[in-house]
Amino acid sequence: MRGAGGAALRLEGLGKSYGGVTAVAGVSLAVHAGEFVTLLGPSGSGKTTTLMMIAGFVAPSAGEIMIDSRPVARVPPEKRGLGMVFQNYALFPHMTVAANIAFPLKMRGWPRAEWRPRVARALEMVKLPGYEERFPRQLSGGQQQRVALARALVFEPRVLLMDEPLGALDKKLREHMQAEIKRIQRALGVTVLYVTHDQEEALTMSDRIVVMRDGRIEQFGTPVELYEEPANAFVADFIGESNFLSGTVVGFAPDGSAELRGAGGRRFRAAPRGAVAAGAAVAAALRPERLRLMRNGEESSGEENCWEGRVAEIVYLGEAIKLRVAVDELTLTAKMRNGDGGPTPCPGDRVRLAWRADHTVLLGTPQPGEEAGAP
């Protein structure tokens, strides 16, 4: 199957409110042609409502949707030409796999002679050749997912919408389907807008991720940007795991890193982003895997920060070990690779944690006190 390439998708101040309740508050977003963009957020963040407005099932209260340069906000769903994979697949139970996949061709008035070869090619693409005459109920969840994908792509849409398509599959199958979807998307060059609440799925699949909360975009960027430079505490916490440190800027080191005084007078250094004035109250995020457990008598190797604390808890994760270390009233979470060598500390042991200033990410908005400390 060849693709028709992708279309650019642009949302301009797209909003939806029900009565007085705002579900989506003026979302603006530009997705390049052929890009894989994920809307990521907790339930109630407005990501599904946004997708439903793009699909045409929910009428926006405000704003416009542009596909390439065509405004479609007032176009009925069947005229938008978007492929869509639903959360529960939404395969027609009374139709065979072939009839399901041929449905969009039939509705679009494609010549009947083209149905069979196109269906066969679509099934080949999703690696289910020869399944034409089965009914959906005779397929496993993963197979139904593939048929849904074939049906959504058979008419060569230039944008594919996916609403938590892998939510019902078990972990192994989900990872497999993630790779399959990426393979197909690359082969066809179709633009994909993907909705999920699974941050790992978003990180592994997306070119760029839109993190949403309460109907607003918190941050839009590549997985690396979101993980390494989260814009605020919500993003830092939602994508991966973060320790939050709050403090006041007391000065600047010669290398440009900011000197901060945290709770209890503890000092630490962070690489400032943008202009930070001395005296400003700021919050910083620190990834658990950036904390290094220093062995007894070991000297820091370039880390600007080193705090001492007491091990409160050890969580064995298999490939990694998580330590919760109490530093005064603060608890830091450190994650070390299993098999890094050296004995694993025990609860109650005193340990030293070191980390680099440029791994301490200052967050955009100053966070109130309750954000300080690891969860």
Binding site: P76, P77, E78, A99, P104, V119
Partner: protein
């Protein structure tokens, strides 16, 4: 094997304790089976025997011969099926949109409609039939309105119109509730999927909702048809001489003629025709193939 006694562990069943105790399923079914046996099977058998009993003992098919010999009785059967079929089609045409609104309307509206349907359902059939007398009569509410509007009065009582109106009204809830239960089980996502794939509102209905609601159409029609075939009070009160249905003739034979044998024969023919109709329906309509679509 442990299915018949779910509360007995398989090992206990294997040890032979099952043989000393009747299976639980049978115990649970027994009261219903006994009741059915006494109030249904036994009278049924009795009716069959009466229909073939000769006056002086022995077996005779004279009653059946009489039914075939007299065109009047065949005509009654014909009228019965005609009325039952008309009522089935009419309730389907009226009930389908109603059930559709019930599953698609906002909750408040749907609840109000459902209340109306259930009210009709729970009101006694005699009460409802007398209400039609009041509405349809020559001096009834409908004709008074028509007269006030300067129109000629309509003759809607003691003829086929009255029978059809009354029976449709009485049987509509059965159709609506059967359709409703099937329609409610149709995943609304499927309609969205159809729209997304290029179907207009109407075509999404035509290609997805309608086929998926066919079991409801089949079930509701069968239910209404079977109920209509044996209908008795409504055609008697609202119908005329030409609207005699078979149940009325059977009643006359018992009440007036006191001919239990002939009445039994009529009842057996009605039952046989109904079963035949059901089998034909199952064959012709072939629910499964009608329901599924291939390319």
């Amino acid at each position: 094997m442990s299915q018949s006694s779910p509360f007995v562990p398989a090992t206990a069943a294997a040890m032979g304790r099952r043989s000393r105790r009747p299976p639980l399923a049978l115990c649970l079914l027994l009261p219903a089976l006994l009741l059915l046996g006494f109030v249904f099977l036994y009278p049924m058998l009795d009716i069959v025997l009466r229909s073939i009993a000769a006056p002086r003992g022995g077996v005779s098919l004279a009653h059946y011969g009489k039914i075939i010999a007299q065109p009047a009785y065949l005509r009654v059967f014909l009228i019965t099926f005609e009325i039952a079929l008309s009522v089935t089609v009419a309730t389907l045409l009226l009930g389908y949109p109603l059930a559709y609104v019930l599953v698609t309307a906002r909750r408040g509206i749907a609840a109000a409609i459902m209340a109306c349907v259930l009210l009709a359902f729970f009101t006694d059939v005699l009460v409802r039939t007398y209400a039609w007398l009041v509405i349809l009569g020559p001096e009834g509410a409908l004709n008074q309105v028509l007269r006030a509007l300067g129109s000629a009065p309509l003759n809607l009582l003691y003829n086929r119109y009255g029978v059809l109106l009354g029976m449709c009204y009485a049987l509509l809830p059965y159709m609506v509730l059967t359709l409703y239960s099937v329609m409610r089980g149709i995943d609304r996502n499927l309609l969205q999927a159809a729209r997304n794939l290029g179907a207009s509102d109407w075509r999404a209905f035509r290609h997805v909702f309608l086929p998926l609601s066919l079991p409801g159409i089949a079930g509701g029609s069968l239910l209404v048809f079977i109920l209509a075939i044996g209908y008795f009070i409504t055609p008697r009160l609202l119908g005329g001489a030409g609207d005699q249905m078979i149940a009325m003739v059977i009643e006359q034979q018992v009440e007036l003629g006191v001919d239990w044998g002939f009445a039994s024969a009529l009842a057996i023919v009605l039952l046989a025709l109904t079963i035949l109709g059901f089998l034909l329906y199952d064959r012709l309509v072939g629910l499964k193939s009608l329901f599924e679509s291939k390319i």
